[in-house]
Amino acid sequence: MVVASIVAFVGALTAPWLHRWLGSTAGWALALLPLGLAVYFASLLPDVVEGQTLRHSLAWVPSLGVNFSFYLDGLSLLFALLITGIGTFIVIYSGGYLKGHPNLGRFYLVILLFMASMLGLVLADNVVTLFVMWELTSITSYLLIGFNHSEFRSRRAATQALLVTAGGGLALLAGLILLALMGGSLEISELLGQGQVLREHPLYLPALILVLLGAFTKSAQFPFHFWLPNAMEAPTPVSAYLHSATMVKAGVYLLARLQPALGGTEVWSSALMVFGLATLLTGATLTFRHTDLKRLLAYSTVAALGALVFLIGLVPLTDYYAAMGFATFLLAHSLYKGGLFMAAGAVDHEAGTRDINQLGGLFRVMPLTGVAVVLAALSLAGLPPVLGFIGKEVLYVAALQAAPAWMVGLAVLGFAAGAMLALLLVVPFFRGQPPQAVHEGPPSLWLGPLVLAGLGLLLGLFPGLYNPLADAVASAVKGKAVAYHLKLWPGFNLALLLSLLTVLLGVGLYFLYPRLQAWMAQEPIPGPENAYVALLRGLMRLAAGVERLLQSGSLRAYLVWTFGGLVGLVGLALFHGGVLLWPAGASSPKLEQVLLLALMLLGTIGALRLRSHLAMVVVLGIVGAGVALVFLLQNAPDLSITQFLVETLTAILIALVLLQIRNIGSVPRGRWLDKAVALGFGSLVTLLMLGVLAQPLELHLSQFFAQKSLPEGFGRNIVNVILVDFRGLDTFGEITVVGLAGLGVWALLKRRQREERP
């Protein structure tokens, strides 16, 4: 499993080269990577359905308990199969859809990197590994949404998706760390056994909220749903793969994964059911505003994600129906939605439009895509004999068993919108005339939709094929073994009646749709996206304000802020810390000290009175030299030499800089603020020194270095031994900074010269 993950990442990195060598057939060749992985995961099926779990671990930071550990049970296996299986067709499809695109090589790279990260996410056992993979999927998603980066809308949608999902990711990180601290382990497999401890912990609620924030943002739950429809700016393979079948289900995956540990409390169930249902209805309602195929599908994805979250909330309340419904509906949705997206892309690719009002008669010219759409739409509508029907049936049974009646009613309404959408999608294939010169796309464009939709039909007709894996998935979500017999025909019951009602309502909505659409598309509906925009705008304005204040471009202002801030903050700490002390038993000063002090004071006064900048620098040098002499008197020759040299070179540097400024004039009088800050800083340092001297001298470290310097560092100069040996790594960091600063000065000067001499 570790190897599979590494193969996925390394394979992704070879994509651009393969693309260059193979040209337009690269899609088919690259599809071998996800296909191979899918076969590998399929080979693990027999073990997993028997209830075995596989665990592999690679040490990463063992001292902190952070490992690259992977865990495979029914739930992760289903996701791994979806990711690699659908990934295979997506890669093939991309080759046809983006044929001839100049950046196709990069596209392959990023989409395969996404696949690898997503695999890592669903296989991860360690919460740190999970988090890293989680963020990697956010970043690759950002790159893919913004693939057409010359378009402003793409860039905006990409940024929005990144900010929302990565922001939630931060909350998730905090939540996961809290869980790890509460449960005493970073491994999810161990946390799952600690459910009792976690649920009764006083930090349960904060941890839960943080985890939910992460999951809800990622899986586009209300009120964070708005980024997903906007993400439709991405090329269609991305929408089909990331934004319907896999990435947006990461949040759902996480909730399902943690269900046995965190579920079972009232707040868990009610939060998931309420937000899930709200999302389902939001997605269903907003469907009515659009006529664009991809947008319609995006809102239906939002609705489906809501339904999945709703189901996870139901899991602890029902014996096994909700878990089973989750397992079935998840697969059904990934199959039909991935297929529908790819088909929509194919139609767009061939007909040049995605507006359902302008499409017609497509079945005659695109029969294979048509078959795929009809089969997938059946699943979307929840009609027999496809898998979507079974998924929705079990969902209804679970809801009837444990959810209040009004929730069931709202769920039926939400699904009715799905049924309406299915009709909307199918009708353009049969009614009207096909646009000019439209024909079926190449195999790469229809293979994926056909296979995915066909799988939905196959599993619908023979649910027994999926039953063992569904049991394993449901067991993982439920937290204990589940065995349930999936049937296409459950017999007459209330759920079947609800299904019938859903379809009838859907047909009714279909006839209302044209009028509703015209009415709803008219006015912008205020939603959470407005809050996002306002927040972002406020942040920008704040940043601009702070920048005007702090980064005014005047060196003097910078110094005032830096030193003024230092005086204020450290002064406050001094005051509160109560370290304003006078050292006891200070010795009376010696003659040479008094003389030195007088010399330095003279320098200071001179600097204050002089009006020439250059003269000021020289006179200030007296103060510096005085300090160096003080060091010398205190038996610190090292410090003294350094001080002398630094003082000299500083004088040279400042003089050189001053020479550059032609109209510098003389130092103006006044400048009371500058003087106050300077005086404040001087007083602060004095107070600090006095405070330090008043404390008993801590000789622990000095003694350590004095003792160890010669025997362990082979040097008698303690200062130097500390610099190059004991604290060598610090020094290395420091000289790196010095080197970079030199480079920076050089670059700035070069730039200015080039600007002056074009």
Binding site: L659, V724, D725
Partner: protein, 140 residues
């Protein structure tokens, strides 16, 4: 700057200061001195020479451009940290051996890296500023 005294004395001072700088560098492990201080002295020597004889004359006395020296310095410092890893010890553990009766160790090599980096970076700044001083511009 065009004074005979400075021009004449700077030649001697330059050599003396450079010798002093290397002396400080090498004895640093046992007596006051070290790579940082040594580098500062060397920068002083070059800055003085450039003042007296002009920038191009000073540049000719450099084996490599200042920024290249920075690169080499960092590389030398980094390389001195690695032998310990090969011996299975923590990074930067000092390795000492005797060469013709003189004790040599990786910390000394590290100090030479410090010397080169500090020397190169400061000299890059001073030479750059001095070069720009011949093309002063308006305002700040």
């Amino acid at each position: 700057m065009n004074t005979l005294i400075l021009k004449t004395t700077s030649r001697f001072l330059f050599t003396l200061l450079l010798l002093l700088s290397v002396f400080l560098l090498l004895r640093g492990h046992n007596e006051p001195g070290g790579g940082f201080i040594g580098a500062l002295v060397a920068v002083g020597a070059y800055a003085l020479f450039a003042l007296a004889h002009g920038l191009s004359a000073a540049r000719k006395l450099l084996p490599l451009p200042p920024l290249r020296l920075v690169g080499w310095g960092l590389l030398v410092a980094l390389l001195s940290a690695l032998p310990a890893l090969l011996l299975g010890q923590p990074l930067m553990t000092g390795q000492w051996f005797s060469l013709l009766g003189v004790k040599v160790g990786t910390p000394v090599i590290f100090d030479i890296g410090v010397y080169l980096t500090v020397f190169g970076a400061l000299l890059a700044a001073i030479f750059g500023l001095e070069e720009a001083a011949h093309h002063p511009s308006e305002g700040a």
